[in-house]
């Protein structure tokens, strides 16, 4: 598709281990359009972060084994791109915002130096010009007193400020795609609201596409346009954000949405999904969700359903979805 900024076809990641093979990602397809914010949602261990790292080609191989049929960023084909050339792409055309700003930033360099580096690496600027751009970048993410803050070390900044610095870093070269891996998980609610606002603004101002990786459905509801729900290494549902929240099709998505407590709820027992996510080395046969699923029957125990639905719209991987994807208005 012409408008696709990031395209992924059949991405697989596995980690051979002493006791067997962990299939972290089992063939996922993604299409992220220009200016769109897509969210990859799932619980810990579902393979969402690994997918992001595989797309950025940040995984060490070995131990990881990555296979992808096709991977492209705008007009660049990344499928077989060697590491040396990926270096030129990372930071300039696609950038990542990490979860934990304290470990993502270098503790012995001032934050200004770390942002300068991006400009010096990817564009021909003098140090002075680079610093000027750095200060502008920090101002854009609403860091107060950007000029003096550029000379602070990461530990001198608060969590929210550090996360802003990471956002400034990622947007420094105005990339085509930003991958934000749990950008606000480590933050408090009031700070989370600030940081998400900054992130959304930056994305809209620069018309950058984003892939948001999170386990927090409320973040998705406030940020994303399209949602991919992952479970045990596979995408189980794909939908536009509003549709997903209004009418989930997969029993897992349905259960997940129902189990999130809301402020508007009356006092009552919480809706729960039984059991827990399967161990990545001991995934059940058939549909991975069937042991926890209220709708499961024989076919669910034997065969894995396919992700079915119109090419670019709603899709669900389930033998017994709450409704068929083509029945839902799109």
């Amino acid at each position: 598709m012409a408008d696709t900024v990031l395209g992924v076809r059949n991405l697989k990641v596995a980690f051979p281990c002493p006791g067997g093979v962990i299939r972290a990602v089992e063939g996922i397809d993604l299409d992220i359009h220009r200016g769109e914010c897509a969210a990859l949602v799932g619980e810990s261990g579902c393979g969402k972060s690994v997918s992001a790292q595989a797309i950025m080609k940040l995984l060490n191989t070995p131990p990881a084994v990555c296979r992808v049929d096709k991977l492209w960023l705008d007009d660049l084909d990344l499928t077989h791109l060697p590491d040396r050339q990926m270096e030129r792409i990372r930071g300039k055309h696609m950038a990542m915002i990490f979860q934990d700003a304290m470990t993502a930033l270098n503790p012995v360099l001032t934050v200004g130096k770390q942002i300068d580096e991006i400009y010096l690496r990817h564009s021909r600027l003098s140090r002075r010009e680079a610093r000027q751009r750095t200060i502008e970048a920090l101002e854009l993410v609403e860091v107060p007193e950007a000029r003096s803050r550029a000379n602070s070390y990461p530990h001198q900044l608060s969590g929210g400020m550090r996360q802003r610095v990471l956002i400034a870093l990622a947007f420094a070269c105005v990339p085509k795609l930003i991958i934000a891996d749990e950008p606000t998980t480590a933050l408090d609610v009031t700070i989370q609201a600030q940081v998400l606002d900054v992130l959304k603004n930056m994305q809209l101002v620069h018309r950058v596409s984003a892939l948001l990786i999170t386990h927090d459905l409320s973040v998705v509801a406030n940020m994303a346009d399209t949602v991919y729900v992952m479970y045990a290494g596979k995408i189980v549902e794909r939908a536009a954000m509003q549709e997903l929240f209004l009418e989930p099709l997969h029993p897992y998505t349905h259960g997940l949405l129902a189990s999130v407590p809301r402020i508007s709820d009356e006092r009552q027992p919480f809706v729960q999904i039984p059991d827990a996510v399967p161990h990545p080395m001991r995934k059940p046969a058939g549909c991975y969700f069937h042991p926890r699923c209220p709708r499961s029957n024989d076919p669910c125990r034997q065969r894995m359903p396919r992700l079915e639905g119109p090419d670019d719209g709603r899709a669900v991987r389930c033998w017994h979805p709450l409704r068929q994807p083509h029945e839902v208005r799109s």
Binding site: V189, Q194, S218, V220, L256, V260, P261, I263, V277
Partner: protein, 349 residues
Amino acid sequence: MTRNSPDPQPLLEMENVSVDFPVKGPYPFSKKRWIQAVTDVSLEVSEGETFGIVGESGCGKTTLANAMIGMVRPTAGTVRFQGVDLYALKPKAFKEARREMQMIFQDPFSSLNPRFSVYEIIREPLYIRGQASETVMKGKVRELLKLVGLDEDDMYRYPSDFSGGQRQRIGIARSIILNPRFLVCDEPVSALDVSVHAQILNLLMDIQKSRHLTYVFVSHNLAVVKNICQNMVVMYLGTIMESGSSDAIFANPLHPYTKALLSAVLDIDVTKPRDRILLEGDTPSPIDPPAGCRFWQRCPSAMKGCRIVPAELVEVEPDHQVVCHLISGLSAQQVADGLHEPVSPKSGG
């Protein structure tokens, strides 16, 4: 705090409790400084209720919870459990009193000893007290494992064999083996996967009903607190901002901080757009907290007086108290001095 509670004597009562921690100064002989983790907190927890403590990280909610069950000695104030001053007790009586109060920890990955089997973990409190025989302990552990939804055979496995949710179940079993009356749950689900939150919360509620427990529930998740707590306090930088019944607070939040906190909670309800109050800046350091109201620097409607005059707790309606000059108003003298004029939260410091 006044409340028309049916029980005349609250199970737990805190009166003007402060907890300070010393911190080293930047130089070897510099003056000792203090982190004021909790300052002048008074509250009551009555028998059988679930009491919520809400606030952001660093606001002192965990320290307050620790002070309740005798894990941190307050620098000032008294903690009375069943009418007895906890910290005035002799060591032996103190140990006996603490039998009644237990804790569920936040992180089930670091709160279970990886070298202990599940049996050893759960029986540990009984074992330390040294009053039960091996057979009694085994029977008790079996019974508890069943209660928390685990298998009897899990007794001989190790924590590494279990998922986060199952580990938290083990932690819950350990905390109730001494038949406590009072249980502090310090963020019991925040380290767990979203799909198991509900399981653990429901389990906690079931246990509360069957064993008639009183919970203090520490959380930053307002939706959970609203759903399970009858009474609650909202904390900011070591002090209580608003307290009362959770119905009253959620229906009619009065303190600007409570309002901001509530509006910052992202809801998954996509049908209705909401106005968000975005707070400026970060929580200030508890080492040198601002004089006056601790929230004034970030408060969207701060007055000049808020910077210097600490606000008093006022009761706005039954079961609803708030600490804010906007609600209690300033005295005539203070208004005459111009203290009611607004300050922009950015100026001064």
